[in-house]
């Protein structure tokens, strides 16, 4: 399973001189900054710095880009915890418990927990990748549009039933989000729901909508507060408490391991992976917890579950990229561009012929995880000072940054306008207990879900019995049904057994 010669060669590549590591530190820092600033994206950071990789050899280029990926993966959790603004869609579940912890003055602990779970997650994820890159790539090849559609529906159902006080409202939010995600051109070549606006021909700009629903709407709610953390005694930044949080994550190896396994396998599903993996891991942890009702109110186990899954989904998406040459999202798409710039094509042949480079990338990520611990411990206290900024300064500053970031994503004013519209929608949703995360995931995945359903229809020729030939789809649909009705069914069975 492991090519020892290639492993020795990879070690030589990485450790014969310090040069490859010189670009890793700035890469992680760039990722941390872009992940931590609401409105800036990891893929944006990678795209901006992609031209620099032309001056590097292929392996160094990959080390630099994966360092940005690693730093950004954790960086996204910082605004999720401190401001309820997930820097990326993969940090949505981190905000569920991270933000309540912050509001209770446990921000240091939450950040430490997130850092610990992320770093261990990266190590576990890449270890799994190191051992199982070939089987994972074979598994990914079995995933067709029917499975993609089923995973998306499962993700929406999970989050809809998890993140709102009412399951019905959660499901309505997710399905309305899916509908919004299909606005624009359809596969039939006609436009729907655009109100004649050219801005909507390609659909609703997804990331600005996410920024609006999560960030801006939350900022409206915070207008009435003086500080993010209301208790002035708790408004401190403590490296000691961050380290305590770090140790707390280490002390929960099963949660981290479960999150990591979910992250690697679900993360390898192109396009869907990281957005859904953190939710599945969160739900699995909540379900297995003796105190499921404490989730969503500041339970650190929720942060561990989410962060361990989203950091390992990086390894999952790298598996798909390296083994099949398929990018799983924006960040890996930029990496694919780096492949092209260096005349390299990912896929089974690449893994076979350049196994040493693949191993070097994996080993370098172990190193990046350790560097992230050090850099995170230096960087987090600086960013955590945001809790000391009065809300009357913080709210307009973050709103402006969201507007600038949205403009940066779309290149025109459709981005800021989308932030505006969805900030109001998000505020209404939160006020009336609809699930904002479910709606956002729906918007994110609506277009992809529709494409998957259309492709499945084309492949099957409209025969629904085709689903019976897709065991993975059936398993996912069974899991979906179980997540909707499982706990109710168990309750009914228990009651009957009690009689």
């Amino acid at each position: 399973m492991i090519d020892v010669d290639a492993l020795i060669s990879a070690t030589g590549m990485l450790f014969s001189s310090g040069t490859p590591w010189l670009i890793v530190v700035p890469g992680i820092l760039i990722g941390l900054v872009f992940g931590a600033i609401p409105g800036l994206q990891i893929s944006m950071a990678m795209a901006i710095f992609l031209p620099l990789t032309l001056y590097l050899d292929f392996m160094q280029a990959m080390l630099f880009l994966t360092a940005i990926f690693t730093g950004g993966g954790f960086g996204g959790s910082i605004p999720a915890i401190l401001m309820n603004i997930p820097g990326t869609s993969s940090a949505i579940a981190t905000a569920f418990d991270g933000y309540p912890m912050s509001r209770q003055g446990e921000h240091n602990l939450a950040l430490g927990v997130a850092l610990g779970a992320s770093c261990i997650g990266v190590i576990i994820g890449y270890s799994i990748l190191f051992l199982l890159i070939n089987p994972i790539s074979q598994l990914v090849l079995r995933i067709g549009p029917a499975e993609m559609a089923a995973v998306i529906l499962w993700g929406i159902t999970l989050i809809g039933s998890l993140s709102s006080g009412s399951i019905l409202k959660g499901l309505i939010s997710g399905l309305v989000g899916l509908l919004v995600g299909t606005i624009g051109y359809s596969e039939a070549g006609v436009t729907r729901g655009t109100f004649g606006s050219p801005y909507l021909l390609d659909g609703v700009p997804v990331i600005p909508a996410m920024i609006g629903m999560f960030a801006a709407s939350e900022l409206f709610r915070l207008v009435t507060k003086d500080y993010l953390v209301e208790d002035s005694a708790a408004r401190t930044v403590s490296v000691r408490l961050i380290l305590t949080g770090f140790r707390r994550a280490i002390s929960k190896p099963w949660i981290v391991l479960r999150g990591s396994l979910i992250g690697v396998f679900v993360g390898s599903v192109p396009g869907v992976g990281s957005s859904v993996a953190n939710l599945i891991s969160y739900m699995a942890t909540r379900r297995n917890s003796p105190e499921p009702h404490s989730f969503g109110k500041g339970n650190p186990h929720g942060v561990i579950a989410s962060e361990s899954a989203n950091s390992t989904s990086e390894a999952g998406s790298m598996a798909t990229l390296l083994a099949l040459g398929i990018p799983g999202g924006g960040a890996t798409a930029v990496m694919l561009a780096a492949f092209a710039m260096h005349n390299i094509t990912g896929g089974p042949q690449f893994i076979r012929e350049q196994t040493d480079v693949v191993y070097a990338i994996i080993i370098a990520n172990f190193g990046q995880a350790f560097l992230l611990i050090g850099l995170g411990l230096v960087f987090i206290p600086l960013l955590a000072n945001v809790i000391k900024v009065p809300m009357n300064y913080l709210v307009p500053s973050v709103l402006s940054m969201a507007v600038f970031g949205a403009f940066g994503l779309t290149g025109d004013l459709s981005g800021p306008l989308t932030v505006l519209v969805f900030s109001v929608v998000g505020w209404v949703f939160k006020r009336y207990d609809y699930s904002v995360p479910a709606a956002v995931i729906g918007i994110l995945l609506g277009g992809m879900a529709e494409d998957s359903v259309v492709y499945s229809y084309q492949i099957s020729g409209g025969q629904w019995t085709y689903l019976l030939e897709r065991p993975i789809t059936l398993v996912i649909l069974a899991l979906l049904t179980a997540s909707l009705f499982g706990s109710k069914a168990i309750e009914v069975l228990k009651r009957r057994a009690g009689r």
Partner: protein, 160 residues
Amino acid sequence: MGQYSGSFGKRRIADLVVLLVLGIMAAFYCYDAISASTHIYNLIMVLPLTVLVLGLCIAQFVVAVRSGEPETEPAESVREVVPVMLLFTAYVVSLDWLGFDVGTLLFMGVFLFMQGERRWPWLIGYSIAFAFVLTFFFQQMLPYPMPTLIIEITNPGGSL
């Protein structure tokens, strides 16, 4: 109905209005999609999703009407939030004319004033510094031109 009896009716009605708006919007979108084309590729997702949304809305409507339990009041009041929303709307809508530099400066200044900041050097200094540093940073980073009134960079994204 206990402690919420004063505003309970209003909140319940607002809740039902939100539900109604969601249902109407879903139905309208489906109608628009059907008007555009009845091809299966156009409706394969939209139609079943709309049916599901409408079904769930009806179920939630029934649950909400039958439920007698008081719902908790949100922490923030509409009176405090709406002025901020209006200011944010004015900021975003005026970006095309005022540009990101002046628009952001005015937004920051007015927001700080509305929230009770009366230390004028702080208010003016922070608004100017924040607006111009952010505009300059994004102009340097982005490869396309940003609408601005004062800060002008002829080669956007040129520093990279």
